[in-house]
Amino acid sequence: MHRIYALYGFELKKILMRKIVWITLGVMIALNIWIPFADLSSTGYWVDSKDYTGYELMTVDRDAAEKLSGKPIDDTLLSEMQESYRNKDKYNNKESVAVYDINRSTGFESSVVSADDTESDEGSIPESKIDLNESRRYTPVFTYITKFISDHELALSVNEEELYQERQREISQCWDDQLLTTDEISYWEEKERQITTPLTYEYTEGWADLFKHICPLNYMLLLLIAMCLSGVFSTEYLRKTDQLILCSRHGKRPLYLAKLLAGVTFGIVSALLLFLASAASSLLIYGTDGFHAALQLALPLSSLPIRVGTAVLILFATFLAVSVLYSIVTMFLSEWLKNSVAVMALLAGCMIFTMMIDIPYGYRMASQLYDLLPTTLLIEWQLWDDRLVSVFGTYLTNFQAAWGIYLAVGVILVSAGSRIYGK
């Protein structure tokens, strides 16, 4: 074992001594730090006759959300929110207030939340009297509700019972779309019963931002690993160093394992750095509030009875598992194809393919398998994908099933790679 450890150090050195590794890693980390800021700095909003940057509005909303934290989303809070919005309409204060939130948090098309859509300055209250903090006091709750009630009129009139019924209706619609079986529906109904309503409002934007950025983060990780590990085996052939190492005492199995370990270590550390860069950036902007909040505050259509923090940890663990799989696949291809450019092209091609192609829910089996691919699994909406995998009568969620599948694929590829290397 200590031989493998000694070789592992050299193999790690071989990977890290390449300039391309540091350049790519640096660029990826910088991008991940920048992306959450880019959302705020690249957008401007016209609110109450004044121009605001995305960041300015976010800080106002964050303060408002922090004041609302801990309040149950019940009839009382809904009435307060609706009363506040009615008062704004009364002043004919053109309500573009919620535009920013709707765009950012729900993915719904931009829309102006006002009784009438005509632009008019007539009757507007004087600018000096506008208190942005006051006018956006309930915006976080409104934004949350419009994540699953697309009809804004309804959002401004709904009561507690109707609100949770509407959420349930949306979830049932998802179940129908995903062609869930009766057993699967029973499974999720049981999970739903474990979710306590009314939900208690918490500001979860920092963590929710992580869910939002996990998809680009995942693609960056794949590109990084493809660029840095595609030469682990192939360059030995290319540089003709293979003949030196293969005839040495530990040049076969111990070296193969050392190379794999070094590659996987690089993959895991890269994933860790990218995730931390993204998390640090999001949490620096939005704060760390809401770690212990119910997941439904961040992802209203999820039926998992877990905390936001637990979901983040699951996401993080899955991201690390994906990094291990990417590393193994890349090194297997490097050994098999013996050409690092071909490996990079193949992996980038697969990434682009999965970015562009989606299999509709109607083809249940194909669609479910396709969505378990590492490039399609780490996408925000997968966190409320309710299709289950039955293993000997036990139901596994898509994330649980993916871990099992990735482990099996990893073991198969390591064995196959070992055979190719041995030849």
Binding site: R3, A6, L7, F10, K13, K14, M17, R18, L238, R239, K240, T241, D242, Q243, L244, I245, L246, C247, S248, R249, H250, G251, K252, L255, K423
Partner: protein, 229 residues
Amino acid sequence: MELIVDRISKQYQNKIAVDRISLKFTRGIYGLLGANGAGKTTFMRMICGVLKPDGGTITMDGMDVSVEEYRAGLGYLPQDFGYYPEFTGMDFLLYMAVLKGMTKPQAKRRANELLELVALTETARKKIKTYSGGMKQRLGIAQALLNRPRLLVLDEPTAGLDPKERVRFRNMIQELGKESIVLLSTHIVSDIEHIADRIIMMEEGKLIYQGKWDDGMNLEEFYLGTINK
């Protein structure tokens, strides 16, 4: 110490690179001669376990070529091989030493000895990408000797060496031949005619001559006479 090559063959598609060669090696220096494409490199690669023969066996003191213990006593300098350009000469030797199963202190001591032997002590901390062709070749020789091999296989070892280095290398091989089996392939007949105990000649994958060599004879004439038969 005995290396037995028993009817080994290797075929690449339609070409037979090595055709049922059987040889027995004991301590001493063996000069391997043959024209380009005669199968020398394939033969040596099979002896080193880099290539698997299609048929036949290779054993040293009863150990098959595929086992770790066989490779533990092997030193190989390929004809055309690469380095890790970002490694220093010392890094490269330490890496090869670990691959050969040496401990870290042993590796450091031996690497320093060999760097001195091949006159690379001054440049040991420089990256290999800054080395000249001759320096790289000397580093290759050093790595082959790291584990004090019982079987040393050298494929065109003097390529890139200047005349002074070639003489020093020849003397070094002569010393090694007293303790080990040295199989040396070259195009330069003068490299082996004064040091080889036995000569092996190959043509089109076949063994065409093997025997003791009398230092008084002209090897070049003998070689040309043999392959033209």
